[in-house]
Symmetry: C3
């Protein structure tokens, strides 16, 4: 069985390794793939987007996502079955929202059955004591209904990814993320942007007339470009450079495209 | 066969990948799990604790741990069989001590048989040339006794994790580690701490009256708390914050709890 | 089938995970090993060396290497079969040069067959849309000739790793890489260096008389040494220290050894 794993545990401690140990103890031979463990700490929105981008391309499997600022509070754990048969496992805080949107909701349960937890359940590491065991037992074939009461789709917490706002003269969005290459991915879908060769962009307090291209090779080294990235979103980059550093811009920065 | 892997090699070079290549060349199809490779450079104590935390939850397997400041010196390599049948492999410098404490010593050998090494054996990468090959052949089923002479338990080097000191009025410990969330794990076991609602804590030159809670949710955002963490140790954290940054405290800092 | 994976995608986003998802969707059950994903951004030379160091020790398999500053330009994708039967997959920019040198060229094709790509093919993530699919189908057994026209060995782009220059009185090289331990690996092969006990080394603007040793244990803590590293190259290190920090030296720094 295929199990994928996303968290904000980082790679500087053994936390991810311990979760895998638990998975393999319960479900020997599982194929485990890491999605990412360096999501910003407690950033549910970022984790939700990463999970979405992953499941769009992944085999059917159990997908475990633990970005969990509310660990130890009353927020529940959930497992959600999708139309094609995946099971998404994580805290009920919106981390699964975007993936459910893509894969479509079929069923969900609250993770309440103590039999499928590691005891004593700690107050601070539910990844190890609740979520990895649930994922392991689900991968092993234990039925969803064994884990707890069914929940309706609209019982689940959701995360709201900020949407861009369009007026007659402009599209206002934000930087959704900055990747290792300094690319500035916005929350503006590429189809929203006019087919002009250059687009005035307000970002970092400046207004820049940016080349609207399909690909890096169309602009000179050092030049900025605005293009449809591999997620279908408008991204602002610098050819052979780092747009985030060049523009001194961070995640959540305002981006305004003139029409 | 299940093989786990811990090192201080980091993830910025191909060193971990090369060790896995060696493992898979010798023992095709092995299930390899990373425990952590970002342990502080040469920090045997930290590596030993990570390995312990992992093996407490892991399936029986071969566990390879290479934090090895003495590579190229006369320190020997060892393989240690545990009561339940794991084999721990690494340099004889204490990196295995804590895991042996948990899994219990059954047998050990010095890794001397040249037949199970990659030649020429380099002076600086025994992970690749001695330890990964040993782990691979052990995972493949080669008997421990083939690798070299047996060693008694008390022949092995040990690492001493500093213990807390208790007096009538206080418990003196240190910060054992700081994780990605800024949690300050101490070397004080949770059972040592009085069941008071607030505990005066001396840390970073200050004395703070810290809430003694079970979980983050019991305190306000930004508030400090002291609780039993998932390893059973006293940890000092800041709800929705980063205690290490907030208190400007690092690993090894003194922590004194008043009774 | 064994698939290895090298990139400069970093581990802070889901990019590597997505490539693995694609691989496993196409070739379920593949054994995937990470070589490294933290190669310096766009550093083809560094990636090429890492790949070489890996394949020297790896089982026969499909090796996927994506360090791709020219993504979205006319540079083609290639798959290269080696004498022993590996298949190297990546952009035709030199990233595969060093590995081909080690494993020996047998055949190569340009990746042109749209059937083995994910559609729509993005302009910025060929790792996901072209290279991972190619690697997956190749691992699954699809014949090289299915992917596109054959290429001759000298049709392929190459990367030139800078070579040291030797005169009667000195060997001039550069720092090829700095690892996590601060070791300064040079581009000077160890066999080039005279068998003297001390060697005058010019580095970072200073001339230092460095101990020529086989291993760290031969010098005192804090002392510099020059030795043959595990790749057969001259490396400059500080026993129990960090030579890069100690000497304030970075990758590409000039290193001159006097004879």
């Amino acid at each position: 069985m295929f199990i994928s794993l996303l968290s904000d545990f980082g790679l500087d401690q053994e936390f991810v390794g311990v979760c895998k140990a638990v998975l393999l103890l319960i479900c020997p031979g599982a194929d485990i793939v890491d999605i990412c463990h360096n999501s910003h700490v407690f950033d549910i929105e970022e984790g939700a987007l990463m999970l979405k981008n992953f499941v769009k391309y992944s085999p059917v499997g159990v997908h475990l996502a633990v970005v969990d600022p509310g660990v130890g509070t009353e927020r529940r754990g959930i497992a959600v079955e999708t139309e094609r048969g995946d099971i998404l496992v994580g805290p009920d805080n919106g981390i699964l929202t975007e993936a459910i949107d893509v894969l479509k909701f079929r069923n969900a349960v609250a993770l309440e059955n103590q039999q499928y937890m590691l005891h004593p359940v700690s107050y601070s590491f539910h990844g190890r004591d609740i979520f990895a065991p649930a994922a392991g037992y689900l991968a092993k074939g234990i039925s969803l209904s064994e884990f707890g009461p069914f929940l309706a789709h609209n019982d689940l917490s959701v995360v709201q990814i900020p949407l861009p706002q369009e007026s007659e003269t402009e599209i206002r969005g934000i930087v959704l993320r900055v990747d290792r290459f300094g690319n500035l991915q916005t929350n503006i879908p590429a189809w929203m942007v006019p087919q002009e060769e250059r687009i005035p962009v307000e970002i970092g307090g400046e207004i820049i007339n940016v080349r609207h291209a399909r690909t890096f090779g169309e602009v000179s080294p050092g030049e900025l470009l605005l293009y449809e990235d591999s997620d279908g979103m408008v991204t602002l980059s610098q050819n052979k450079g780092d747009a985030a550093r060049f523009l001194d811009v961070k995640k959540k920065a305002l981006v305004v495209l003139s029409k």
